[in-house]
Subunit: 143 residues, 4 copies
């Protein structure tokens, strides 16, 4: 039963090389943290992107939205909560909340499609079990 599954937030500690001349985490790096968190989320679901790639399916990003609410910096621990914002046959959108302690530093979404040999593929048909797992995750909004 996956609908009781507890997905743990992903944790990223800010690296020295991720900070810029203003002394803060460079804004482009949050896009990378989102990827890290998404990869971890898929791993926790038991179906990693590496396994998907090994089966010939890639999942490029089609859109990103990111709101920078507070700065973070070297050695800050960012906890990233990932949720599914929307899922259709051909696309999935994730929602991210990134916190340093109780301080929300960034909220974001990313939207992805699935491609096999360059062509769009339905997640529902191609990976039905994974699709079922995803749609039965309780929405964190409701927790």
């Amino acid at each position: 039963m996956y609908n009781n599954m507890e997905i743990k937030p992903y944790r990223h500690e800010v690296k020295y090389y991720e900070c810029d001349r203003m002394g803060i985490t460079h804004h482009s790096n949050y896009i990378r943290f989102m990827e890290e968190a998404r990869v971890d989320w898929m791993d926790q679901l038991g179906y990693g992107f590496d396994r998907m790639e090994a089966e010939g399916v890639v999942s490029p990003v089609v859109a990103i939205e990111c709101r920078y609410r507070h700065t973070s910096t070297f050695k800050d621990i960012i906890d990233i909560e990932v949720d599914v914002a929307e899922i259709t046959a051909l696309k999935i959108s994730f929602k991210y909340t990134m916190r340093v302690g109780s301080n929300t530093v960034c909220t974001a979404t990313s939207t992805h499609c699935f491609l096999e040999q360059g062509r769009p593929v339905s997640l529902e048909k191609r990976f039905p079990e994974l699709y079922k797992r995803i749609i039965t995750i309780p929405n964190s909004e409701k927790r």
Copy 2:
């Protein structure tokens, strides 16, 4: 007279290290290309970010939106057109159109505030001449 000013698109050639396992430009790098294009845009306007920083004002990003329309890869030449989407006393939004030849690979916006010693500062009051230059640039929409 700045309202006749011709702002040239910024050009970025995709580097080997900017491409990922899928063989395409990693999506996080477009956020960096936007920064490069914005820096160049300010330079063309005659008031670079380095000069602003030297006067104690920084311009952090508060929001990003990015739509990935086509992939690009190693050695592709990306031409990036920058326009002002909106400007108020405290914020400025840029609009980016990134093309490889006639192919639009990415469209995006970024929103920025201005800070002096950590506090919001009005671009209009702090850099009135720059503000005036910006508002008199003909909107590229209308070109």
Copy 3:
């Protein structure tokens, strides 16, 4: 007593965005892993780079040597052992051994000086206690 101190290897899991078109960890990233490991090493010694920076001392890299022995890729766990290769009043050199399982993927060294307000500073005089801790760490060569 620090000379019995056990310094644990630093662990880095290779990220998707750290891999290149060849499908392997891009070689420039190992330089960043070295920095991560060095930061962690200083933290384990009880005197982090953030604390040093807060006291006005920075530690720029003056030289790097890196031998890439095997490739690594997405999701590989790299264990990085850090040792002091040499220490003088003005410089410190670290030695790094990076392993994926029992497979050595990279060996490297980095050399650093210490600057305060742009001028070289003696680690021994400026941070005598830290200096003492470092020179009493048993050389891992001898373990």
Copy 4:
């Protein structure tokens, strides 16, 4: 005739996102500038890495050495001179001199092998014409 060929230095302007908390170009980025310069050097020779990759040959880095002599920062123009330090059937070493104006900021070397389907391949046998061009470039030391 290639032995009269003039290879032009590669030019890199330091980006905002390439600078770190110390306000200087992060040391890991010079490794990337070397790659950019090497790619450009091959292009000037008329045999780009993209063409080599298209023929199934990749050229991974086996070693890097880098000496950081002066700092560089945002907007600095770095001119990078590339020379062949050594070439054998199986390996090639490049030498890099990076200057901001007349100020040498970094000197470096990189060593590369050539792989086809994961196996070492002789540059001389696989790409005899390219090999000949390389060995007839006048050593810049002697210019």
